[in-house]
């Protein structure tokens, strides 16, 4: 597989270097740890700070969500690997503005443990209060009654959006937590993959898949899905994915949702919009109202091809928060 790089084991650091050079007015890095980054104006005094992080290889996730209206800081790991707890500690110190810190991450064991250890350390050493929330939206990875065990995938966009808006409006850590938890429970995503990606230091792609095949429910690191089948057309694909998600969220006539059609890295925007057109038709037929649509690459898996559909079941409070401004080098609204 062809990749632009110099030395495979410098993949992450050289990519971060480029991001900082391109966006020096919006992002900064900890002086002692190049993997701990923050918005340029951090710490914002009197605001709950939000720190995220995880393995690299999912841009704009996680670092791309650092900016006004979203996250304050990010701890960057190696490709598909959790950041160290030291990096999480350094990111926390960089952004803490005295009103507490929300750790908002995807639900993966390595990330969770490192953020929990970091929480212990910043409490003991810096007296910083933290709360950890894990986004867990992948319908294919666990049933609704165990939704908190699900993998975190593209739906985390909405968790960031809500948490970020709450924090920017000046709410307390507990208030930010309460509304973000409510949001997380109302987000559901179903993803499919058509081709694999390859780790920079690896000799082969992370999984094999036939030219005419697709995998339903695959995770964003190539974790096994629910089944393999022949490629579907756009209408069939939209139907399959939307059904999984609307059933999961128990959406009915009159429900209001935000929709995200997310490309995994090498599926074209043209295709993403073909799929979105079908998704919108299906929802309209069921009289489910779309309050806001997002189409594009929000959570990727390097050069993997595939898409996911996320629905976020809104109520008045969440819909209002969704309208707030967000501005990062990668994401603008």
């Amino acid at each position: 597989m062809k990749k632009i790089m110099n030395v495979p084991d410098q993949f992450v650091d050289q990519s971060l270097r480029g991001i900082l050079k391109a966006h020096s007015s919006l992002l900064k890095t900890s002086s002692e740890d190049g993997r701990a980054l923050a918005r340029a104006d951090a710490p914002v005094k009197g605001k709950v700070a939000i720190v995220t992080g995880g393995g690299y290889g999912h841009l704009p996730l996680f670092l791309g969500y650092v900016g006004k209206g979203l996250c304050d800081g990010c701890a960057v790991g190696n490709v598909f690997t959790s950041p160290s707890c030291e990096t999480v500690v350094n990111a926390t110190k960089l952004v803490s503005g005295g009103k507490g810190v929300l750790y908002l991450i995807g639900n993966y064991m390595g990330d969770q443990m490192n953020f929990e250890m970091a929480a212990d350390i910043v409490r003991a050493e810096e007296d910083i209060e933290t709360i950890l929330i894990r986004a867990a939206d992948d319908v294919a990875s666990a049933p609704r009654e165990k939704w908190e065990e699900r993998r975190g995938i593209a739906g985390i966009l909405f968790a960031y959006k809500i948490a970020g808006a709450m924090a920017e409006r000046g709410h307390s850590l507990q208030e930010v937590e309460k509304t973000t938890r409510k949001a997380c429970e109302r987000i559901a995503t179903f993803g499919v993959a058509f081709s694999s990606c390859q780790l920079p230091e690896a000799a082969a792609p992370i999984f094999e898949i036939g030219d005419d095949d697709m995998e339903l429910g695959m995770g964003i690191h190539g974790e096994k899905g629910v089944k393999r089948c022949k490629m579907m057309n756009a209408q069939e694909l939209a139907r399959y994915m939307v059904d999984r998600v609307t059933e999961d969220l128990c959406l009915t006539k009159g429900s209001r949702v935000a929709v995200l059609v997310n490309g995994l890295g090498s599926t074209s925007q043209e295709e993403q919009y073909i799929l979105y057109g079908e998704v919108a038709d299906i929802l309209k037929a069921q009289e489910i109202d779309i309050a806001k649509a997002f189409v594009g690459e929000y959570v990727t898996s390097m050069e993997m091809s595939g898409v996911s559909v996320t629905l976020f079941h809104l109520d008045d409070e969440l819909e209002e928060l969704l309208k707030d401004c967000m501005y990062t080098p990668f994401i603008k609204l």
Partner: protein, 219 residues
């Protein structure tokens, strides 16, 4: 060796030497761990454990103090920084717990050494929220910890207790071949784990076996 004298004390030099020995045991098994993990996980266990072990060895060589607790804490952070994978982080949690319990003690008594596997297992359970039977490192580590403690409390020497513990770790590791994964990445592909031991359990057995052979040679 005065194995039955339970007042034998271990100073920082011996503790450093033993910890380094364990790290090198882990590092030497890169290929075996890689092979197991590529069948059930994402294949990075061997390389991440070698990176972690190398960082621990460097930290041990750098440490000039005489506080075993501080040494364990520094090794925990170095290990996590070099290998923040799930296994690396769990081992870090174990070392951090030892760092807390042994802080500011200049020497460790044999009874305290015999408690280390239990301390380690408890820290891994707390951090990883796994329990016995979930097909993890705990399925070798818990039987090992119980066997060592039981043998030591029954009056056996530390060396004898470690030998009994190594056998318990081996038997626990063998049993993971038939277990269904409940936590971690392999739970999403449980059919791949049949007849393959859990990588973490193998790691535990390797260290236990190595320590048993070492104390045998020292007799």
């Amino acid at each position: 060796m005065k194995g039955h004298d339970k007042n034998v004390e271990y100073k920082i030099g011996q503790i450093k030497e033993t910890l380094k020995y364990c790290a090198l045991l882990v590092s030497d098994q890169k290929e075996q761990l890689e092979k197991i993990d590529s069948q059930v996980g994402d294949g990075d266990l061997g390389i991440s454990m070698r990176k972690g072990a190398t960082a621990v060895v460097e930290e041990i060589d750098r440490y000039g103090g005489n506080d075993p607790g501080a040494l364990f804490m520094k090794c925990a952070m170095a290990l996590n920084k070099a290998a923040p994978s799930t296994m690396g982080t769990l081992l870090c949690a174990g070392l951090m717990q030892m760092g807390k319990v042994f802080a500011k003690k200049e020497v460790l008594k044999e009874a305290e050494i015999a408690e280390i596997p239990s301390l380690f297992a408890q820290a891994i359970m707390d951090r990883g929220r796994a329990k016995k039977g979930d097909r993890t490192v705990l399925d070798a580590l818990l039987p090992m910890a119980e066997a060592i403690k039981a043998a030591f409390d029954a009056g056996r020497s530390l060396a004898e207790a470690i030998a009994v513990g190594a056998e318990a770790a081996r038997s626990g590791m063998e049993k993971t071949k038939e277990m269904v994964p409940k936590v971690g990445r392999s739970k999403w592909a449980p059919e791949n784990t049949k007849n393959v031991p859990d990588g973490g359990a193998v790691l535990c057995w390797i260290v236990a076996q190595g320590l048993a052979e070492r104390s045998e040679q020292k007799k």
